[in-house]
Subunit: 272 residues, 2 copies
């Protein structure tokens, strides 16, 4: 079957064909080259403890995007459960290291299926989507340097795949609503940088982002560096579906006709 | 990292390591041999339209297992959304063929992440877990024959991997509660057959199941065969995490020391 997203009765929720999955798997291998081979990998389920998401304050920063899981109690009444839908991959990493004194710079690669209750459903804006994240726990300086270095490497990798991206300093969409100061601060300090590409005609979207969280998560989860100082964190995130859509938009629906270099980098079969 | 499930603050919700994922990927390839190479593949997100699940009556048959997604409306109030967590892979297939007159026997391979709000969390009983399903749409006779033939092939494949399974006629857990007759009928007609294996010491669980749905889904989604008669359906489902746990329980934590035959079937790297 051609690489494609297949609509379902729910907006922003799509099935994907085997051909689309082949592109996603190729992207997964290609993105792995952005981390050292010994970086541990974790796969997270699409749900996470509500407690963790409340600890990081996601429900306050992005109240409209969070999906909450309700289920029946023993008595039969419908009630909020202990789970929410995972909004971003890196949130599963911090509890793993909670209370820990790290031996040194620590990096984790995460495969995640995320959910955001988006109000619109233009191409590439999915409610359920997959994300690859690299998470770094280190000093402030090294977190920032790592993020900028890996973002540059990511831009090169995407260029090699034929995707010219623009780099944009961003703020998370809901910071601005209740808290203009926080949003201004985030942009001024360049905490969030996005790589944007066209995923459909006239649809330009973030396909990757690099984020520096200061010591926010280190403090919340009591994670310290070898010197006992609170750990700082950063992450580099990639949206699989958006990247695959951008590639299909750039090179066409016939992956067998994509440039040799791109097919090779993505481990796609040669045309038959 | 060793192949393992990593606990999270939520019971029955586990992260998995790269080593565990290698086993899961190996299982995915091995299970693919149970279908013809030209069987279309679909990957489904972990959420599905609530409408679909209500159409098939899952919310009435298994009210305690269903996870419902709530989110804030534009006004800011928390309300049930149009989505629920996907309880089984095959439910995403029927809407794709809704209203269709099939050209002939139709088969689809589905990769799914499923959710069931289990009350207990013994080893192998996860709330979020992955499932591979093969779904067949055909005549009554051929659906039953296909299910039994593919179950036998699955048993052979699992035996080749060192997993001796027992075959048990089963009924879905909640049919019995409100409707003993339905449960009795299900067992008498052998609609559901499970393959069970030990996933941890003393923990025997279903690692696969073959189900014949009669024309229930064909009727609900108005799917007919080439002759215009309502299509019957069957499915063959495998639990990735349970299968991986059963393999680890059987062969030990060091996948490098697993029998050559098993490593080869699962595409696992040779020991270094």
């Amino acid at each position: 079957m051609k690489p494609a997203l297949v609509p379902t009765p729910a907006a922003g929720v799509h099935l994907s064909t085997g051909g689309f999955e082949a592109v996603v798997h190729g992207l997964a291998s290609a993105l792995s080259t952005l981390a050292a081979p010994d970086v541990p990998r974790l796969r997270t389920p699409p749900v996470i403890a509500r407690q963790t998401i409340e600890e990081v304050g996601y429900h306050e920063s992005f109240p409209h995007l969070l999906g909450r899981v309700f289920a029946r109690t023993d008595g039969g009444a419908l009630a909020e459960s202990d789970l929410v839908l995972l909004p971003a991959g890196c949130y599963c990493v911090y509890p793993v290291h909670a209370g820990e004194r790290l031996h040194g710079p620590t990096e984790v690669s995460v495969e995640a299926t995320c959910f955001r209750q988006e109000a619109h459903a233009e191409p590439g804006r999915l409610r359920s989507f997959r994300m690859r994240e690299f998470v770094r726990l280190d000093t402030a300086e090294r977190c920032l340097a790592w993020r900028d270095d890996r973002l540059a490497a990511a831009r090169d990798l995407l260029a090699e795949l034929g995707l010219e991206t623009t780099s944009e300093v961003a703020s998370d969409p809901f910071f601005g609503r209740g808290n203009r100061l926080l949003r201004k601060l985030q942009v001024e300090r360049e905490l969030k940088v996005e790589l944007c590409a066209e995923v459909a005609p006239g649809q330009r979207q973030a396909v990757a982002s690099g984020n520096y969280h200061t010591d926010q998560f280190g403090r919340l989860f009591a994670i310290t560096g070898p010197d006992g100082a609170v750990a700082h964190t950063a992450c580099l995130a990639f949206g699989y579906e958006r990247l695959a859509l951008a590639l299909l938009h750039r090179h066409g629906e016939e992956t067998g006709r994509w440039p040799d270099r791109v097919r090779k980098t993505l481990d796609l079969e040669a045309p038959r």
